[in-house]
């Protein structure tokens, strides 16, 4: 079962009040659910659908359209590795492969200790400092293998 935490429950009316049409609150509520659980569970989509009078199917279609909503349980740290043009030209492919082998998982997977989840991502608008990855809400730019080692090792 999914339930919004009491604190999040309280925020729902505030979020709804921002929009003339309740349907518009779909993205904020999905985000809130993901922040709470680390991913958007099927039950969460049903629950959000109930709040916004949308079918679970519709909620899922919106959630699955965006790569930044995770539909499966994730690790504590979600690495979104940019593989778009600027990053790619600066060696993103190799660095992504490096990260995956370092974590001993494939892209899209989560480490056995549930610490890291690794995903490809399209341009995250930090091209000037390509290549880059985003871990949870933090951008890490001008990456190199050494830098990746340091960053990953520093996280607990």
């Amino acid at each position: 079962m999914f339930e919004f935490s009491p604190a999040n429950q309280k925020r729902i009316p505030e979020i709804l009040a921002k929009y003339p049409d309740t349907q518009s609150a779909l993205l904020p509520l999905l985000t809130m659910a993901q922040r709470q659980e680390g991913y958007v569970a099927p039950q969460a989509m049903v629950e959000i659908g109930k709040i916004l009078k949308l079918s679970p199917g519709y909620v899922q279609s919106v959630a699955s359209f965006y790569t930044m909503y995770h539909m499966h349980p994730t690790g504590k740290y979600i690495i979104l590795f940019c593989i778009n043009i600027s990053c790619q030209l600066n060696g993103a492919d190799e660095l992504l492969a490096y990260t995956a082998s370092k974590l001993n998982i494939k892209v899209g997977e989560t480490t056995a200790d549930k610490k890291f989840t690794l995903h490809r991502e399209e341009c995250l608008a930090a091209c000037s400092n390509a290549p880059m990855m985003r871990i949870n809400d933090t951008y890490h730019e001008d990456l190199s293998k050494e830098k990746i080692d340091k960053i990953l090792d520093s996280l607990d």
Partner: protein
């Protein structure tokens, strides 16, 4: 038609002048003018979407050339549209070529083959050699629900199914998953599809990605023979396309071609998947005679002879008035016409009736009153252009599902405002700008309708001076409305005066209004009063407001209207001519079953009805059938009624017969045979002809069309209707007699203390009458009967989902599985009436109106 006037736009298509109302999109007009435009994701019933990008045309406007997508671009004054240019073909082709990269091209085994827009468009653009590397998807077919197969390798992600499910059906069971190359369609969480099973998604899909699994023969639609005929279930009267192969009905589809039917290619679960009643071993195989409780096969000649003999001796011994007939809401007009003729002309008996007229004789009077007051029923094909629709006590998605489709379309394209009034808070999702929901107390229908009338007058929402001028008894109406105060109405309906004022205001605005009345109204015990109040409401709006009012009266089965038109009632001869003194004998048919039970009727002939399950009260039917000395029943299946007969005759299904039926809005439509009569069965028409022959006074008519010709001679209103064009019959020769129908006020009866719950029963979404149980597809999706109660009542009686409920009335009790449904109000038990093992009508004692019951958990 809507009262909003849209400006007419002038433009040209490929040089030919064309016109259309402002806002019309190019593709729609081009198709109307007969131009072929490639397109894969467009459907006239749905909102513009532009997913496939294959409908590009060139437009020149204000000296500028533009390439636009014709499925979303509206026409403009002076615009020149050019459909094919080298450039548009290049773009459109490229997009189809890219779709074909993934498409399996397994046409020889595809259900859509031959009627496939993807094939057609590929051909139209003369695409032959693929330029791109083929990359087929190879996902397994999904068959997790009983009826619709998802073979998504063929899906081109046009979104038509998703949009039809949402916009037309209001369900949102399907949606997109992911995006880009990975985009596909599916259900939430890939759970098995659990929806209304209307199959609209199958119809609109331009490929064979969604398929009807209920069909026996799969693949190559082009090889089947198609017959368009009228659905035999509800009174909406959809045109269904029967697909046959070697004289076998293999599936039912919908034809979206404009002008084919009143339903624009929409169907419901029953109409589309309910074909299992046709080829079925459980059909009665031969005439049967009851010999001491067991049925023995006999020959047709012998059976017909026996009825004729019995009729003659009964007439000699007890007089013609002791012979009675029950005509059918499911037989054709021609059959019902001959049946009443058999009784009136051959036997000399006026004892003929039908179940609707027996239970609610006032519906016919209501219709005639509408005529006399100039209240029309516009063709249902115009329902999507109404400005306001009041859905009065109808659970539309179960009762007239396709009616719901038209209203939803209206909400999108006309901006139809929907007012939904019902004791149950039933789902009716749509995109109306205004959705007034009036959830009122059960049985308070007449209070609600009368209060609306009073508000219209009190608040001067209609021009009362004008009304007074036109309708002589206006003051009587005003006087009769005195008891419907805000307080009394609140007490009876539970609705606030503000809610009702808002409703009345909405109704009073200049508009074309449609008023759809559900069959539940007839079971409140105040059906007549409610219909009269609604008629008064319509008269007030018509006489004192601007715009128009259309009324759609409650009719249940495919020919509930026609059986009455044909005069299968003791009050009216064909065409509603009063019987008056044509017959001297007492009218026994008004109380048909009572008069069988008390011995006055000695001979009862039931054609295609099962009153044991479908008459409101079972006990009286049982007594009647057990008492009447001679009972002949002709039907397709061995119904409970048939089991009580002396003689049973097997009849043909709708797929095997010819004739016409008349829907709730009086569209007279064709029934066309798609396969020969099965086995030893005969059509009801043939049986009546045979009987007349055996009686020694044969009918002049030989065929169904002869009978239709005779009907046209007899009923002026039928004279000029063309069933092939789905035309309505219009009242002819009606003298205008404007008058409000005044009813005395009577307070709602309170529930009795020991039986504190009220029963409601009607057709299930997947079932109607008693035939649908023989259709496997429908029992697959609607296998079990569930009583529904409110969570509060469940809590009170400590009931949970899946418990067996004991429902008791003062008359009888029954056991039924239950589920909790918050849409059902506290104090109500809703039980669908379509399960023979849950005989809801057994609960009624002699009283009319709502049945009071109590519930408890059955151990």
């Amino acid at each position: 038609m809507s009262v909003t006037v849209r400006e007419t736009i002038n433009f040209t298509i490929d040089g030919k002048p064309a016109t259309a109302p402002e806002g019309t999109i190019i593709l729609e007009v081009a198709q109307k003018y007969g131009f072929e435009v490639t397109n894969l994701c467009y459907n006239k019933k749905l909102k513009p979407f532009a997913a496939c990008r294959t409908c590009m045309v060139e437009v020149r406007h204000n000296g500028k050339k533009e390439l636009v997508y014709s499925c979303t671009h509206p026409v403009a004054e002076g615009m020149e549209v050019i459909i094919h240019t080298e450039e548009t073909d290049r773009y459109n082709s490229a997009n189809i070529e890219m779709l074909l990269v993934e498409h399996p091209l397994d046409c020889p085994i595809c259900d859509k083959s031959g009627v496939c827009p993807l094939q057609d468009n590929t051909e139209l653009l003369e695409l032959q050699k693929p330029r791109f590397e083929i990359q087929r998807r190879n996902e397994p077919s999904i068959k997790t629900n009983p009826l619709i197969e998802f073979y998504l390798n063929r899906c081109i992600v046009c979104g038509l199914c998703v949009r039809a499910c949402d916009e037309i059906q209001g369900v949102q069971a399907l949606d997109f998953h992911q995006r880009g190359m990975k985009a596909s369609i599916g259900t939430a969480n890939d759970e098995p599809l659990d929806c209304e099973f209307c199959g609209q998604c199958i119809t609109v899909c331009p490929t064979g990605a969604l398929m009807d699994m209920s069909s026996d023969a799969r693949g190559l639609a082009a090889l089947f023979k198609n017959t368009n005929t009228t659905c035999s279930y509800c009174s909406w009267g959809c045109t269904v396309q029967l697909e046959t192969k070697k004289n076998k009905l293999v599936r039912i589809t919908a034809d979206e071609t404009p002008g084919v039917g009143i339903n624009e290619g929409n169907l419901c679960a029953k109409g589309r998947f309910g074909h299992g009643i046709v080829h079925n071993d459980e059909r009665i195989q031969s005439p049967l005679i009851n010999q001491g409780g067991t049925f023995q096969e006999i020959g047709w000649d012998e059976a017909i002879e026996m009825i004729a003999e019995r009729a003659k001796t009964t007439i000699n011994r007890n007089g013609a008035e002791s012979l009675a007939g029950l005509a059918s809401e499911k037989l054709t007009n021609e059959e019902n016409y001959l049946f009443q003729k058999l009784f009136r002309n051959n036997y000399g008996s006026n004892q003929i009736n039908n179940l609707q007229n027996l239970q609610a004789p006032y519906v016919n009077d209501f219709m005639l009153n509408c005529f006399e007051n100039g209240i029309e029923s516009k063709p249902v094909t115009e329902l999507d252009q109404a400005d306001v629709v009041l859905i009065f006590n109808s659970d539309l998605p179960s009762e007239y599902p396709v009616g719901g489709n038209s209203i939803r379309k209206g909400a999108i394209f006309t901006g139809t405002r929907v007012i939904f009034a019902n004791p149950r808070n039933m789902r009716f999702d749509h995109e109306s700008r205004i959705d007034i929901r009036l959830i009122y107390n059960q049985d308070a229908d007449f209070m609600l309708a009368n209060r609306l009338c009073r508000i219209l007058i009190d608040e001067n929402l209609v021009d009362t001076a004008k009304v007074q001028e036109q309708i002589p008894n206006f003051n009587d109406l005003v006087a009769s409305l005195a008891p419907y105060t805000a307080d009394a109405t609140k007490k009876a309906t539970g609705l606030t005066n503000e809610q009702l004022k808002r409703t009345a205001t909405q109704l009073a605005e200049k508009a074309d209004r449609a008023l759809i009345i559900g069959n539940d109204v007839l079971n409140t015990g105040k059906g007549k009063e409610t219909l009269n109040a609604l008629l008064n409401l319509a008269i007030l709006l018509n006489a004192g407001g601007e715009g128009s009012v259309s009324i759609y009266p409650p009719r249940e089965h495919c020919n509930s209207q026609g059986v009455n038109d044909m005069g299968a009632t003791p009050q009216y001869l064909p065409g509603y001519r009063p019987v008056n003194d044509a017959f001297e004998h007492e009218n026994l048919a008004d109380e048909l079953f009572e008069n069988c039970a008390n011995g006055k009727i000695k001979f009862l002939h039931i054609a295609g009805e099962d009153p044991m399950t479908s008459y409101k009260s079972r006990s009286i039917v049982e007594q009647a059938l057990d008492t009447v000395p001679f009972l002949v029943v002709q039907d397709i299946y061995m119904s409970e009624t048939a089991r009580k007969a002396n003689l049973i005759l097997p009849t043909a299904t709708f797929a095997e017969k010819e004739g016409t039926v008349t829907n709730m809005t009086r569209h007279v439509q064709k029934v066309v045979p798609a396969i020969p009569v099965q086995g030893k069965a005969k059509s009801d028409l043939e049986i009546f002809h045979n009987l007349a022959d055996a009686l020694g006074s044969p009918f002049k008519s030989k065929s169904s069309s002869d009978v239709l010709e005779e009907i046209r001679q007899t009923i002026p209103a039928y004279k000029d209707v063309d069933p092939a064009r789905h035309e309505q019959w219009k009242p002819s020769g009606v003298t205008a007699k404007p008058a409000f129908q005044i009813c005395a006020f009577e307070e709602l009866k309170a529930s009795k203390r020991d039986f504190s719950m009220k029963l409601l029963t009607n057709n299930h979404m997947f079932h109607i009458g008693s035939y649908t149980h023989f259709s496997k597809a429908l029992t697959d999706i609607g296998p079990d009967c569930f009583a529904e109660i409110n969570p509060k009542d469940a809590k009170k009686s400590e009931l949970v989902n899946g418990d067996t409920l004991l429902v008791e009335s003062s008359q009888a009790n029954l056991k039924v599985q239950m589920k909790i449904n918050p849409a059902v109000p506290a104090g109500m038990v809703y039980i669908p009436k379509n399960w023979p093992e849950v005989p809801v009508n057994a609960l009624r004692n002699g009283e009319d109106g709502t049945v009071h019951v109590k519930i408890s958990k059955s151990e």
